[in-house]
Point group: C2
Chain length 450, copies 2
């Protein structure tokens, strides 16, 4: 296979970093590190332009906030073609789905639950109190949010595992009311999804999807409670609605297509690297499988393996589109450059297929979830390892974190001062208040010493 | 003073909870708790409608993202009427401002810095690692964001204290590059602001304000670096821009007008309660001073005191508008009801002016920062106590937290599996992958055991 099989590296528009050759190959790139970094920077600097989606979503939110259940039912009829009498899913429907779910699926979900629970318990933060200064008590109290809404997409993207990942951290944080929303399906809800909801400890389920689901959770309807935070991925309407209600409620993050970055050296096995890259490519035509390696032969072998394996997949069409349009293989001079490039990409998932992989932990600055070593295949984290699989995408691992217990609590600060302790600091307070032109601030302190 | 002096409790529109009598009195309300809770719920359930601001902001962001410095300079000329050659503030200008700042101001800022530092160090979170399962290592690494942008409003709202509150937690988290932006002033930047920036450890300062400042920090220009997170309050344009760039960068929260809630019993001193309420009323015509008490006489006395004290304030007009249009005094049956009502309000600041105030900490569900006892006057927290004064407003204390060290870090999860450890969980993984229709996920695991 010669290099002529691949397009050269180019970036004809700001939204697409690497353009493939249209025959389901990963593009192999050998450019200077600087060139590659420049292109990655362009790729992660997008100005979103969704004016039309934004307008529709704004209308949906206003309508649901004003008209509640009736607006929700109208939208469900229009968008999901389902006429709903009752938005709530009954406990007997949930129990029935659980009973009809295969025992090996229940067992696997229970194993996942145990590992997710043991991992996320390590994330619990403690309140603190400090009484070192005479007459002064200061502290921070950590408390759970009262109610949380979890969005679960419909159709093929309704993943039981994602319900565990959303709900278990909320329950560990102490959230009393976890409300799940999911679009109604003409032939009934996915049984494994309902079983997972039961296992995870969801408190209420409503069949509503899209922007109308997000609006319901943000403002409340006669049936659906207003919550404090909305989590979970969804389509462009869901993502836009979450952004619009942000501030009215909290949200987790703005989710985009899946990504996997693999850093691999010559000791990696091409068929395994290829299989791991395909595991994310099959999610979405816009998913992004990326390999960075210092071994040109590995690059060629992985590409050939992907080409072979993708043809055997049920979701071949999706995976091929992702490989061809979004994926790439970068050949770099050395492993240090591989980490530099990958930190600029800031992938959702990062595999480090190198000997002594854990020793590279310090070199990883930006990644959602990291898989160390040749056996830590990414799907282990999707299901049973215990870390969360709701992760920052699209380069946002620069600043967003995996979903965790920390997302389901709020902090409240407190101070207590005795009169003598306040007296000691009164001059500093009144000085600063007056520099800022805030006389009433100064007088509030002085009112104690008249 | 008879009750006829006050308007009755009503809510003629959804955006205003209590309408005053137009003569700078706080309205005193005695209704059933249920009635009051209902009105508070309406007040906190707002559908934002800022279509015009959103449109202008969208255009500004797109222009700055495309044209960088030149677009920024054009906007500064248009909006702030300042022609800028250089957007950067020089170190000598900063040093000069520091040297010209009064020593008592420097001393007060240094005292504040010490207390803010000692408080926020208690917020530092630890990475963790877990190796309890044979062949499995799991953990979470906490690392600072690389670069943060701090927005500092111009004019009278340029508060040196807010710079300490924004920057010190970022520096404790380990952020290397803290970039401050503030609108240019025709007669030069506020010296105390520059002195505070030096004391807090700001790394770079640029004179740019409004939506163009937020766009610069989100996308970067030739001069201003792209950052990972933007913090700090601003006007409607700044708040809207922050919301629009959310996802391209992280933001702290959507800030609204200041609020103070005071829960006071018969032992509180009316003149002190009044002074504390006015300390927040002077911030903004939309600021919201709220007293909830079980003592009708205290309600009447506090109102009379506010009426007297407000006339002596330099910012009388602002404070009166806040009292008259946004403030209220609710008289409740008992202190339990006071906490129930205040939890529904979820105020930015909450004073508990009751004996043994700290014992009520458990009853406080929603509040940004709490001031316990008769001497913990709110301004102590604005300046020197140490907890942050950048706090959730407008009822968002239900889910947002005070700014803290936690805002300036990101978490990265990691797992490592040996081949035998993966083998043990392989069946569970492939079972769940296939239930979800994700065959390539299953094959990635199976590729290790061929």
């Amino acid at each position: 296979m010669s290099e002529d099989d691949f397009f050269i590296f180019k970036s004809p528009n700001r939204n697409r970093l690497f353009i493939g050759n249209g025959v389901a190959n990963m593009q192999i790139i050998e450019e200077s590190l600087d060139q590659m970094l420049k292109q990655v920077a362009i790729r992660t600097n997008k100005v979103a332009n969704r004016a039309e989606v934004e307008k529709s979503v704004r209308d949906i939110i206003a309508n649901v906030a004003q008209n509640g259940d009736q607006a929700v039912k109208d939208y469900e009829k229009k968008f999901d073609r389902v006429e709903l009498d009752d938005l709530a899913v009954s406990q007997s429907e949930i129990d029935d789905a659980y009973d009809k779910t295969d025992q090996d699926v229940i067992d696997a979900l229970e194993l996942a639950k145990r590992n997710i629970t043991s991992f996320h318990k390590m994330e619990i933060e403690d309140s603190f109190v400090d009484a070192k200064q005479k007459g002064v008590i200061r502290g921070e109290k950590i408390a759970p949010l009262a109610a949380v809404g979890v969005y679960v997409p419909g159709g093929t993207a309704a993943y039981p595992s994602s319900i565990l990942m959303n709900v278990i951290p909320a329950k560990i944080a102490g959230v009393k009311r976890v409300v799940m929303v999911t679009p109604p399906q003409t032939n009934g809800l996915n049984k494994a999804v309902l079983a997972a909801a039961k296992i995870a400890g969801v408190d209420e389920i409503y069949t509503v999807g899209g922007a109308q689901a997000i609006a319901s959770l943000a403002y409340g309807t006669e049936t659906i409670p207003r919550v404090d935070k909305i989590t979970g991925p969804g389509n462009a309407y869901v993502a836009t609605a979450k952004k619009q209600v942000f501030g009215q409620v909290d949200i987790d993050m703005i989710a985009g297509p899946s990504e996997i970055g693999v850093i691999a050296g010559s000791q990696a096995v091409a068929s395994q690297v290829a299989a791991d890259l395909l595991s994310q490519a099959e999610h979405d035509k816009l998913a992004r499988p990326i390999l960075v390696t210092d071994d040109k032969q590995l690059a060629i072998n992985v590409n050939a393996e992907m080409n072979r394996q993708v043809k055997l997949l049920p979701r071949q069409e999706i995976a091929q589109a992702a490989m061809d349009n979004e994926g790439f293989i970068a050949v770099v001079k050395n492993i240090d450059d591989a980490f530099t490039l990958m930190n600029a990409v800031a992938p959702e998932h990062l595999e480090v297929q190198l000997p002594d992989a854990i020793s590279y932990l310090n070199q990883i600055q930006n990644a959602g979830s990291v898989f160390l070593g040749f056996s830590a295949s990414e799907p282990v984290g999707d299901y049973v390892a215990g870390p969360n699989h709701i992760l920052p995408t699209g380069g946002t691992a620069r600043f967003f974190s995996p979903l965790g217990v920390q997302d389901f609590v709020k902090r409240t600060q407190f101070v207590s001062y005795t009169r003598p302790a306040l007296k000691k600091e009164a001059d500093a307070i009144t000085t600063l208040a007056r520099v800022e032109g805030l006389e009433a601030h100064a007088r509030a302190i002085e009112s104690r010493f008249k």
